[in-house]
C-alpha cells in the first residue's frame, strides 16, 4: 500500500467514512449490466446452491437447487442460468459497426487495410466479490466440456442444450477479467476499493457489506460501527443480519437452517421446496441490493476520459469470441499451449502498464500518487528558450525551464512524456538539472511539435503555464512478436498436437457421486 493510500485510509478512520481514492470513475459501467449473485454448497467443487440473476434490480430471477447432490437438479439450474444469461450475452452480437484494421495479405505479404465488424456495445457481468469472479470461471470450466444429447446420444446424463455454450462464454468472461482494466466481468468489491479508501484493511474490504458501510454508512452510524454490524451482527437465531456476499454461505446458515430444510425436502414433505427457495433468496437478496447500491454510488462519479478507449478493447474481445463461437470452434482448452500462454501474459502486462498510465492521466489524485513516488512531476514554466537539433535539417528543440516542488527520480537524459490538450503525447528529455538550484528543471522538447521548422502553435508551453511531465510512457508497447503456435520451439514443448489427438477437450469422466 502506498503512503498516499495509507493516508487516505487513516483519513477515513478519523472521519468515520470512506475517503475518495479517485476523482473520476476508472471502469466502464454499462447502462444495462447483468448482475449475478451466486451461492455455492460448502465443501463441494462449485456445486451451485442458488443464484439471483438479471438486469432489472426490482425483478431478479431466482434460481435455486434444493438438493445440490442431485445431478438432474443441478443440470436444471444450469439450463435455467443459460436461459437467463445467454439471451443477454447474445443481445449485443448483432448491433455492429465497421472498423478498419491492417492485416497481412497472405499472398503478397503486405499489410492491407480491411474492414472488420466491431460490436457497438458489449455485455457486462457484475458479481459481488472477487470470489464471485473465480466462481464464474469455475462454472465456465465445469460446463464447457459437457456433451449434450445432440452431440453424443449414447452417453448417460447428457447436459441440457446451451449449457456447454454458457460454459464457453463464462470461461471467456473469466479469462478477460484477468486483464487489468477490462470490464466485461467486474466484481463490486474491486470496483469500490478502486475508488474509495475505507478505514479498514484491504483484507476486510473483501466483505461487500462492510465496505459499503464505510462508503455510505446509514444515518446515525459511523463507518466503523456500520461495518462491524455488517460483519458480525446476528439475530436471535444466530443468523447474520447481513449474509456474506458469497459464493460461500455462512456455516451457521448451513447448519441451522439449510441442512434441516434439505432434510425436509429429501423426505418429500409438501412445501419443502418453496421453503428452501425462500431460504436461499433470503441469503441472496441483501447482496443483490448491495450490488445495485454500489452501482448507484459508482455512477455518481464522472467517467474518466480514457475509459471508453479501454471499453473498446473489451468490445473487440467480445466480438472476437462471438466470431469463434459462430465459426464452430471447439471450447477453450483446459491448458493453454506455450505460445497462447505467453501471449496472454504479455497482453496482461502491457494492459497493466497502460492502465497505470491512463489512470494517472485521467485523474489528478492518482497522478499525485505517482508524483509522490517520483514517477511524475508538475511545475510552472519559468522560461522557454529556442534551440535546434544538430544535423542536416535542424528541428526545433526548445528548452523549457520549470519550477517544481516535486522530487522526480530523474537523471540527465531521462525520457519524459506529457499529455497535450488534443490527447497526443509530447516527448521530452531531462537536461541535467542546474546544481545549487533545487526545484528548477530544464526539459528539452523532442517531439509533438509537428514537422515544420517552427513548432505548431500550442505545442510549446508558455511561461507561467502549469505542466505535468511523467517518467512513464503513456501508451506502452508490448514485447516482440511471438511465433505461431505451429512453430513453438522444442524448448517450450514443441507444436501443440493436432485437434483430433489432443486430450484437452475430452469431457471429464462422470462418476456416480460427482458434482456439477
Amino acid at each position: 500500500m502506498s503512503l498516499i493510500e495509507t493516508l487516505a485510509r487513516m483519513e477515513a478512520v478519523a472521519e468515520g467514512r470512506a475517503r475518495p481514492r479517485c476523482t473520476v470513475r476508472h471502469r466502464h459501467l454499462s447502462g444495462q449490466p447483468l448482475v449475478l449473485v451466486p451461492l455455492t454448497t460448502a465443501g463441494e467443487a462449485g456445486a451451485p446452491l442458488g443464484a439471483l440473476v438479471g438486469t432489472d434490480r426490482e425483478k431478479p430471477v431466482l434460481l435455486a437447487v434444493p438438493q445440490p447432490r442431485d445431478r438432474d437438479l443441478r443440470f436444471a439450474f444450469l439450463a435455467e442460468l443459460a436461459e437467463s444469461v445467454l439471451p443477454y450475452v447474445d443481445g449485443f452480437a448483432d448491433a455492429i459497426g465497421w472498423e478498419e484494421r491492417k492485416e497481412t495479405d497472405p499472398e503478397t505479404g503486405k499489410k492491407v487495410p480491411v474492414q472488420v465488424e466491431l460490436c457497438s456495445d458489449a455485455p457486462q457481468l457484475i458479481v459481488p466479490s472477487a470470489a464471485g469472479v473465480d466462481f464464474v470461471r469455475l462454472l465456465g470450466r465445469s460446463m464447457r466440456f459437457r456433451r449434450t444429447a445432440e452431440q453424443e446420444p449414447a452417453a448417460p446424463h447428457p447436459a441440457p442444450p446451451h449449457v456447454p455454450l454458457l460454459g464457453r462464454w463464462l470461461t471467456h468472461f473469466g479469462e478477460r477479467a484477468r486483464v487489468p482494466g477490462a470490464s466485461l466481468l467486474l466484481s463490486m468489491t474491486d470496483l469500490l476499493t478502486r475508488h474509495w479508501a475505507s478505514g479498514q484493511s484491504a483484507l476486510e474490504d473483501q466483505h461487500l457489506g462492510a465496505l459499503l458501510a464505510w462508503i455510505d454508512p446509514p444515518a446515525g452510524l459511523s463507518g466503523r460501527e456500520a461495518a462491524e454490524r455488517a460483519e458480525s451482527a446476528r439475530d436471535a437465531d444466530g443468523q447474520l443480519l447481513c449474509p456474506p456476499a458469497g459464493p460461500a454461505t455462512d456455516p451457521a446458515f448451513d447448519n441451522r437452517l439449510l441442512a434441516p430444510a434439505m432434510a425436509r425436502y429429501d423426505a418429500g414433505l409438501p412445501g419443502a421446496e418453496d421453503a428452501l427457495r425462500a431460504l436461499v433468496e433470503g441469503q441472496l437478496r441483501p447482496t443483490w441490493d448491495a450490488v445495485w447500491h454500489g452501482l448507484d454510488l459508482l455512477r455518481a462519479l464522472p467517467e474518466g476520459a480514457r475509459v471508453p478507449d479501454r471499453w473498446k478493447r473489451d468490445r473487440w474481445s467480445y466480438t472476437a469470441h462471438r466470431d469463434r463461437v459462430r465459426a464452430g470452434e471447439p471450447p477453450q482448452p483446459k491448458q493453454d499451449d506455450a505460445v497462447t500462454a505467453a501471449q496472454k501474459l504479455a497482453a496482461r502486462e502491457s494492459a497493466q502498464a497502460q492502465l497505470d498510465a491512463q489512470e494517472a492521466l485521467d485523474d489528478p489524485l492518482v497522478m499525485a500518487g505517482r508524483r509522490l513516488a517520483g514517477e511524475a512531476f508538475q511545475g510552472t514554466v519559468t522560461a522557454v528558450e529556442e534551440a535546434f537539433s544538430e544535423g542536416k535539417r535542424p528541428m526545433p528543440r526548445p528548452l523549457v525551464t520549470l519550477h517544481t516542488a516535486d522530487r522526480p527520480q530523474l537523471s540527465g537524459g531521462g525520457k519524459l512524456y506529457r499529455a497535450l490538450a488534443d490527447g497526443r503525447t509530447q516527448t521530452g528529455e531531462c537536461v541535467a538539472p542546474a546544481a545549487g538550484e533545487p526545484g528548477v528543471l530544464v526539459v528539452r522538447l523532442t517531439g509533438g511539435m509537428g514537422r515544420g521548422k517552427t513548432p505548431e502553435p500550442g505545442s510549446v508551453p508558455e511561461p507561467g503555464e502549469t505542466v505535468c511531465w511523467t517518467l512513464f510512457e503513456h501508451a506502452p508497447r508490448g514485447g516482440p512478436e511471438l511465433p505461431d503456435p505451429e512453430d513453438t520451439p522444442w524448448t517450450h514443448g514443441g507444436p501443440p498436437p493436432a485437434p483430433g489427438e489432443t486430450p484437452h477437450d475430452s469431457p471429464d469422466p462422470v462418476t456416480t457421486e460427482d458434482f456439477l
Partner: protein
C-alpha cells in the same frame, strides 16, 4: 494436593503430562525437560489456574499450530493456546464471538472423501503415492502393505503406539500405511498432539506425510491459498516426525528420514476420484521451525502476569453460560499483550476482540501488516494525521529530523491539492444495505 490439582491429574491427559509421569516409553520424542527454576508441577498448576478449576484443556491441532507460527509475536495467543484455554468460548464471553465455524456439508464431504481414499487398505492412496513420489521403484502390491492398528488410550498412549508402529514398519523394510497416527510436537515449552491424515513408510526406510483435503484439483491446479495452508500443516507433521525418526534410526540401525515432500490428495476436477500432487514443504518447514523456536515460552509469559490472573469463565451449571463479568475477563485478557494484524481474522477466535482494542487505540497495524513500514516511529493513526497536517513547510525542524514525517507531509499536501482541484461528489446517503 488441592482438589483442583487432583481434578487436573484426572482430566489433563492432552497436555502437560511429562514423560516421567505418563506412559513412559523410550520411543517418545525427547520432550524438553522442565526449565531450570520452574518446576513442572508449579507451571502446570499455573496453567490450570489460568484455565480455571476443572476446565479441560483444549487440544492444539496442526491448523492452530500453523496459525500460531504465522504470528509468533502474539504473546496472548501463545499463552492462551499453550494453556489450552477455549478461545472461542472466551471470545463469546467477551462479547466478540468468532465469525467462523465449519459447515456440516463440508465436514460430511471431507469425511466421505477421506474414507474413499483410504478404502481397500489404501490401494488408491499407495498407487498415487508411488506414482508421484517413488516412480521407477516396484509398485506396492495391495497385500504387501502393512496397516498397523494404532488404537491406544489417550494421546500419550497413541503417540507411543505410533512411534512403535513406525519403528517396526521401518525395521520390516516394506510398505506401511499408518491411518491417523498421533504425534507430539513441542509448542512454547509444552507438548501438543497432532494427527496427520496418514503417514506412509517406504521400503527404503523413508516416511511420507499424507494430507487428504476435499478442495478440488482442477486441471492439475488447486487454490493456492488452500494448498499453502495444507503445506503449512504438513510441515508441522514433518517437524513432529523428525524426533521419532531419530529414535527409530537409533533402534533399527537403518537410515530413517522424513521426506520433505508431502503428498497432497484432493478430488480430481469435479468428481470424487482422488488425484495427488507432491508438495515441497521445505520452506514451510524452515518457517515453522523458526517461528516455533521464537515463541516465547508459555511459562515466561505466565510468570509475567499479575498473580491473580485467570481466564476462567466460571461456567454456570449448564456448562455453556459464562457467569464471569466481561469487564473482568477483558482485564485479564489485556494483562497479556497481543500483536493484532488483520490476518488474525482468518485464524484466531479472539480476533474481533483484539481488533476492537487495536482500533480503539488507533494502532496503525489495524489497517494492515505492511502499514508500519513507511511510518517510522509513528504508531497511532492520530499521531500520523497530526504529523501529516502539522504544516506544509518541509523545512520544519521535525520534518528535517524524520524523513517519514517529511514524506507524510508531502503526501498529505499532494492529496489535498488533487482533491481541491476536483469536486468529488459525496456518496448519497441512502437506506442501509441490510435489514
Amino acid at each position: 494436593m488441592s482438589a483442583a490439582d487432583a481434578r487436573l491429574r484426572r482430566v489433563n491427559v492432552f497436555r502437560d503430562s511429562r514423560p516421567a509421569s505418563a506412559a513412559p516409553s523410550p520411543e517418545r520424542p525427547a520432550a524438553p525437560g522442565p526449565r531450570p527454576g520452574a518446576s513442572p508441577r508449579t507451571s502446570r498448576a499455573r496453567l490450570a489456574e489460568l484455565r480455571g478449576p476443572g476446565v479441560r484443556p483444549r487440544p492444539l491441532d496442526a491448523r492452530a499450530l500453523a496459525a500460531l507460527a504465522a504470528n509468533p509475536g502474539c504473546r496472548r495467543r501463545a499463552l492462551l493456546d499453550g494453556a489450552g484455554v477455549d478461545k472461542g468460548a472466551l471470545a463469546q464471553a467477551l462479547g466478540s464471538p468468532a465469525a467462523y465455524g465449519q459447515s456440516q456439508f463440508a465436514i460430511v464431504r471431507g469425511n466421505a472423501f477421506e474414507a474413499r481414499v483410504k478404502s481397500d487398505g489404501g490401494t488408491d492412496l499407495l498407487r498415487l503415492l508411488h506414482e508421484r513420489l517413488a516412480p521407477g521403484t516396484p509398485p506396492p502390491a495391495p497385500e504387501e502393505v502393512a496397516t498397523p492398528d494404532l488404537s491406544a488410550a489417550g494421546p500419550e498412549g497413541r503417540t507411543a503406539r505410533t512411534a512403535l508402529a513406525l519403528r517396526e514398519a521401518t525395521a520390516a523394510g516394506g510398505w506401511a500405511l499408518l491411518d491417523h497416527p498421533m504425534l507430539a510436537v513441542e509448542v512454547a515449552g509444552s507438548p501438543a498432539y497432532v494427527e496427520p491424515d496418514a503417514v506412509v513408510v517406504h521400503p527404503d526406510g523413508s516416511w511420507t506425510v499424507v494430507e487428504i483435503k476435499s478442495f478440488p484439483m482442477i486441471d492439475g491446479s488447486a487454490d493456492a491459498a488452500k494448498v499453502g495452508a495444507a503445506a503449512r500443516q504438513a510441515a508441522v507433521y514433518v517437524l513432529a516426525l523428525e524426533p521419532v525418526a531419530r529414535h527409530a534410526a537409533a533402534h533399527t540401525g537403518r537410515p530413517v528420514r522424513v521426506r520433505d515432500r508431502a503428498l497432497l490428495v484432493c478430488p480430481k476436477d469435479f468428481s470424487n476420484l482422488p488425484t495427488a500432487a507432491a508438495v515441497d514443504v521445505r520452506k514451510q518447514l524452515a518457517t515453522t521451525r523458526r517461528q516455533l523456536a521464537r515463541l516465547t515460552r508459555v511459562e515466561e509469559i505466565a510468570d509475567a502476569l499479575p498473580p491473580e490472573t485467570t481466564f476462567d469463565l466460571r461456567l454456570a451449571d449448564d456448562g455453556r453460560t459464562a457467569t464471569r463479568p466481561p469487564e473482568e475477563l477483558a482485564q485479564a485478557v489485556e494483562a497479556v499483550g497481543a500483536a493484532y494484524v488483520p490476518e488474525c481474522l482468518a485464524a484466531c477466535e479472539l480476533a474481533f476482540h483484539c481488533r476492537g482494542r487495536s482500533r480503539q487505540d488507533g494502532a496503525v497495524e489495524a489497517l494492515g501488516r505492511g502499514v508500519r513500514g513507511e511510518l517510522g516511529g509513528l504508531r497511532t493513526i492520530e499521531e500520523v494525521l497530526a504529523a501529516a497536517g502539522a504544516g506544509e513547510d518541509p523545512a520544519d525542524p521535525e520534518a528535517e529530523r524524520d524523513p517519514a514525517v517529511a514524506a507524510l507531509r508531502r503526501a498529505a499536501a499532494l492529496r489535498a491539492e488533487a482533491l481541491a482541484g476536483a469536486a468529488v461528489p459525496a456518496p448519497r446517503a441512502e437506506e442501509p444495505g441490510c435489514r
